[in-house]
């Protein structure tokens, strides 16, 4: 029994090694399968990502976010097409929400990829924001690693911009484009609530619609106002912290997010957007900002992994001691209290760590 377990483990390890080799060799099926393992957190997925990591660093990663209906998918389709015309290979990860009730979802972004659907060199992958434990952002970062190792020149991560999750997702990108549909003051309001800080480029899509000029104007005012915000005119509103993360710094050495107008459907303005994205990419290199961003990103990744791993360790220990329920029961009976329980559970782990010092 034990022997066959070892055999199984060895076989699985061998299969994963083959998978890595095939992926690096350019086999699409292997890339697709690796991303599935990442999404499912299949046994061994961590070793897969580890093995691929050494082969990354070649891709430019672009995040595209914005409210539903802003035209993200259509624009991503046009961007991918232009990149292909330039002879570059492209990976796209499109993240859709999933139903909190059934866990099921309809991932519809692929429909908009009309220009590239039969082109295997635009590797388009839909991911649902299903209850990922480490958060969808970890899965996204790992999927980007896989596409990068595969050799994609440009990787586009597309997600609905709605909250903290999405902000974490686009942080996997070197350059973030935030789409704003025209004619809705609400959208500009939404930007204030956290999306503003992450934008390297603003895109007013559907620029042929009424109200586009006003939206551009409002954005321009907001972008100019950012320096003031970072200066601390609004202490305690939560923006300061976020601003110091990205924008506060970029203000120092002169990257002010440009505002580009596009009509994704017709392709108007896409060329200009491409140039703007390339411009930001150059700036990242020239200012040394790319490395700095990557460093922050890796630190964040490590922190997330450690938090997860430690939590898992603790969960196992709790299980060994009869489960959380029984602790709760004891607290309810006034036999102990939450702090004492936490101390008791942590102590052996603490001892272990301290003994090694």
């Amino acid at each position: 029994m034990a022997e066959s377990d070892t055999d199984d483990a060895e076989a699985a390890e061998h299969a994963d090694r083959t998978l890595v080799e095939e992926l690096l060799d350019g086999k699409h099926r292997a890339l697709a399968r690796v991303i599935s393992k990442i999404e499912n957190r299949s046994p061994g997925y961590r070793d897969l990502v580890s093995a691929l990591h050494a082969h990354t660093g070649g891709a430019d990663v672009i995040g595209v976010t914005g409210s539903p209906g802003a035209g993200k998918s259509t624009l991503v389709d046009k961007l991918a097409k232009r990149y292909r015309d330039q002879g570059l290979t492209v990976g796209v990860i499109a993240i859709d929400p999933s139903s909190p009730f059934t866990g099921g979802s309809v991932l519809g972004d692929r429909i908009r990829m009309a220009s590239n659907t039969a082109d295997m060199d635009v590797f388009f992958r839909s991911m649902s924001a299903r209850g990922h434990l480490g958060g969808i952002s970890t899965a996204t970062a790992d999927a980007v690693t896989a596409l990068d190792a595969f050799g994609k020149d440009r990787i586009i991560v597309e997600t609905v911009g709605a909250g903290q999750n999405e902000i974490d997702i686009v942080k996997t990108a070197d350059t973030v484009a935030v789409l704003v549909p025209p004619g809705s003051g609400d959208d500009v309001q939404m930007l204030k609530a956290g999306i503003l800080e992450i934008a390297d480029v603003f895109v007013v899509n559907k620029a042929d619609m009424d109200g586009a000029d006003r939206t551009v104007q409002e954005l321009r005012e907001m972008v100019h106002g950012r320096g003031d915000l970072a200066g601390g005119h609004h202490p305690g509103d939560g923006l300061d912290v976020a601003l110091s993360d990205r924008t506060g710094e970029s203000d120092d050495d002169g990257w002010e997010p440009p505002i580009v107008e596009t009509v994704a459907k017709t392709g108007d303005g896409v060329e200009e957007l491409l140039e703007t994205l390339a411009g930001h990419s150059d700036w990242l290199d020239d200012s040394g900002r790319r490395q700095q961003q990557a460093r922050t990103r890796y630190a964040e990744e490590i922190r997330t992994l450690l938090r997860e791993d430690a939590a898992k360790l603790v969960a196992e220990e709790v299980e060994r001691r009869g489960g959380l329920e029984s602790f709760a029961e004891a607290v309810l009976a006034r036999e102990t209290d939450p702090y004492t329980v936490a101390d008791d559970v942590i102590r052996p782990i603490e001892d272990c760590v301290e003994r090694r010092e």
């Binding site: 699985a12 099926r29 599935s36 299949s42 999933s98 099921g104 979802s105 309809v106 839909s126 434990l133």
Partner: protein, 139 residues
């Protein structure tokens, strides 16, 4: 954490292939699959066999459901099967067809690797159950 590792979501591609603009059935199936907890990728209308193959490979779906009402199944389905084989994706993908397939054509399609054909009158529960039971085993 352990529960997340054990749980695998079934991914399906619902595909409309060829010159066939009737997608009500595909929509109904897509929604039913979603409500059953599957992840559904819908191809959109008028896709070529190549496009279906690209989507199936890249999305690494467990199930490809082809909706055909045009009568062109005998030309289109073999192209999809060949394409999947080309990318090593045929073996562990469950291929099913929904739509109107004449009785005489069924054996040929099943022969070439289609797992099941759901014609008019097939119940949704039956289809979902079939997918649950036959979705390929993967780790």
């Amino acid at each position: 954490m352990s529960e997340a590792q054990g749980q695998r979501t079934i991914r399906c591609l619902i595909a409309k292939v060829g010159l066939d603009g009737h997608d009500r059935g595909a929509h109904v199936i897509a929604r039913a699959f979603r409500d059953a907890g599957f992840e559904v990728i819908y191809s959109g209308l008028h896709k070529s066999p190549d496009e279906i193959v690209t989507a199936a490979v890249q999305e690494d779906v467990d199930v490809v459901g082809i909706s055909i009402l045009s009568g062109a199944h005998n030309t289109l389905v073999p192209k999809i099967v060949d394409g999947l084989e080309e990318y090593d994706a045929f073996e562990d993908t469950l291929l099913i067809i929904g739509g109107i397939i004449p009785e005489d054509d069924r054996p040929g399609l099943l022969e070439m690797g289609v797992a099941e054909i759901f014609g008019p009158g097939a119940s949704m529960d039956e289809t979902i159950e079939f997918v649950r039971e036959n979705a390929p085993e993967r780790d």
